[in-house]
């Protein structure tokens, strides 16, 4: 195809303008994804409803676990379980992100984005922004539920803010894994298939039960499972005064998840672009 000289609007914008424009695109795609979650209950249910029910059942049914020797000192089992519920919620937020992204690939929505003059990573970044927002919603929800039903947040307001920040970061980290899964699977039903695995990985960590009370080989697996670092870091400001070490360890666990997820996402995005 031939054309006349290039008009100004077709010329590549400068770096700063491009950065501003990409930020707007990521924001707009993030808004779209949050709206999508609220308009399609199956995206919201795994993040809020399932973990809440799980929390209710666990707390109600196994509340006497706090009487076990060597169980950490807590006000109640609910205080202990809140971290597990938030971890479960953020992991399922990652699965929801995977399903939503895979749907975008299935219906061809990704082509709309890839045919536009934007960085192709924006497709993933927009979804991650939304997953972060869902993480914040999840943290606020579970802290509120906990407080309403008698949980104590020993770390006070600062502790609650640390929990919220960790949950947001964790949701984003699991969002990268979800993005990698969607880009490779390209099918929502395949992405959905990962759902049960979340529970297996969670139960093999300290999310719902103290690591030192688990039986072998679960105990050893939980020791090496980065989710234990995250669960313990989330739990610490709830059941004790705020301290730096568990928070840093949680950040380390999140970094491991995010590192793996980001590497796999970049790989998936590259192969997606090459084989589009």
């Amino acid at each position: 195809m031939t054309a006349a000289p290039v008009p100004a609007r077709l010329r590549a914008p400068g770096f700063a303008a491009r950065l501003r424009s990409e930020a707007r695109v990521v924001g707009e795609l993030g808004r779209r994804s949050v709206r999508q979650a609220f308009r399609r209950p199956q995206f919201l249910a795994p993040i809020i409803i399932f973990p809440t029910l799980f929390l209710a059942v666990n707390t109600g049914g196994a509340g006497r676990a706090v009487d076990l020797p060597q169980f950490p000192e807590v006000h109640g089992f609910l205080d202990f379980q809140l971290a597990g519920a938030m971890l479960q919620s953020t992991m399922l937020a990652g699965v929801s992100a995977a399903i939503a992204l895979a749907l975008d690939i299935e219906i061809g929505f990704i082509d709309r984005l890839f045919a536009a003059p934007i960085a192709r990573a924006s497709f993933v970044l927009g979804r991650l922004a939304a997953t972060a927002v869902m993480g914040a919603i999840s943290a606020l929800w579970f802290l509120s539920v906990g407080l309403v039903f008698g949980a104590h947040i020993e770390g006070g307001v600062a502790g609650a803010l640390v929990v919220i920040a960790l949950v947001v970061l964790n949701a984003t980290a699991f969002g990268t894994l979800g993005a990698a899964l969607a880009l490779k699977a390209k099918s929502a039903s395949t992405a959905q298939g990962i759902f049960p695995l979340v529970f297996v990985i969670l139960f093999l960590s300290s999310a719902f039960f103290p690591e030192n009370l688990l039986l072998e080989p679960a105990r050893t697996i939980a020791e090496w499972n980065p989710l234990s670092l995250i669960a313990d870091g989330l739990r610490d400001p709830i059941i004790s005064d705020l301290s730096l070490r568990p928070t840093l360890e949680a950040l380390g666990g999140i970094a491991i998840v995010a590192g793996i997820g980001t590497a796999l996402s970049v790989w998936g995005l590259r192969s997606r672009i090459q084989n589009a």
């Binding site: 195809m1 290039v6 003059p117």
Partner: protein, 310 residues
């Protein structure tokens, strides 16, 4: 793809015509930078699709075959998103979105979710999203496939209007009529290769003369065949319809009718059949374009006792 070599001039409507699986969509996906070519080169709006893909994307509007629309978004939200993708500031994005929704007749449905739209509405919305940044070149991949005739004509009208405003249009289609009605030039593609290219008129002229199909009142067929043979080469009759390839084209129609009348033969119906792009397709590939018969029924394809129109 093999041996595709084409050039589309600025301001032209170019139709890529071919059956399913011919390579139309693959070609479009390469031209809109969604698929990297494994060989050869292509420039769109003056930019190389591989080396300068972002500039190509700034210059083009794309409406793909699947009408890739999120059913959970409203029309207005989708327009706003598309405007943001093309770097339009917030206020301008809102104004432009509203303007285009009105233009394609979706202003009243703008705040409804896309999932509630009909097929025609989705196509019009898809077309509107492709226009937010006023593209120099518009790619439409089978823009009317699966649409009812009214929706199809609405899309055609809009494409013509855009072209009159200066937009170059590259469309793929498997509908002969679409290519014939809309395109300045047509490229016929089959099995990944370009089978023929030119204006619809030139392509049809390449393959020969128009022919006349006549139904004569009972008992007069043999005499009519003798009369008709004076005006060109007789063709095998089909289902009682007599056919002759006219030596001088349409100008022979009146003399044929007069001659039949002079011979006392009563013409029940008469149809001048111009060569179609399907005839061109048959000539170039040895087979019919899928769906060509359904699209343009001829008297000879109808049962003998069914009335035919002149």
């Amino acid at each position: 793809m093999a041996g595709i070599d084409l050039e589309v001039s600025e301001g032209e409507i170019y139709a890529f015509l071919g059956p399913n699986g011919a390579g139309k969509t693959t070609t479009v996906r390469m031209l809109v930078t969604l698929l990297a070519p494994t060989g050869g080169s292509a420039t769109v709006a003056g930019f190389d699709v591989e080396r300068d893909a972002p500039s190509v994307r700034r210059a083009i509007g794309v409406a793909l075959q699947e009408a890739a629309l999120d059913p959970l978004m409203t029309g207005r939200e989708l327009m706003h998103l598309q405007s943001t993708l093309h770097g339009l500031p917030g206020d301008e994005a809102t104004r432009r979105g509203g303007e285009l929704l009105t233009r394609v007749g979706l202003a009243d449905a703008a705040d409804r979710r896309v999932g509630t739209y009909s097929g025609g509405m989705r196509r019009r919305l898809d077309l509107a999203t492709a226009l937010v940044h006023d593209p120099k070149v518009l790619f439409l991949d089978e823009p009317t496939t699966g649409l009812d005739p009214v929706s199809r004509i609405a899309i055609w009208d809009e494409v013509r209007r855009l072209n009159e405003e200066g937009t170059t249009v590259f469309l793929t289609t498997q509908y002969l009529e679409e290519a014939d009605q809309l395109a300045d030039r047509v490229g016929i593609i089959d099995e990944g290769k370009m089978a023929a290219e030119g204006t619809p008129a030139a392509l049809k002229a390449q393959i020969g003369r128009s022919h006349l199909e006549i139904v004569i009142a009972e008992g007069g067929s043999e005499a009519a065949e003798v009369v008709m043979a004076r005006f060109g080469d007789p063709m095998p009759s089909k289902n009682g319809v007599l056919m002759v390839a006219l030596e001088h084209g349409a100008s022979d129609v009146a003399p044929v009718v007069r001659a039949l009348d002079d011979a006392g033969l009563c013409v029940e119906s008469l149809n001048l059949v111009q060569p179609t792009l399907d005839d061109v397709f048959v000539e170039k590939t040895g087979r019919h374009l899928e769906g060509a018969d359904e699209e343009q029924p001829r008297p000879s394809d109808l049962p003998a006792d069914e009335p035919v129109s002149a």
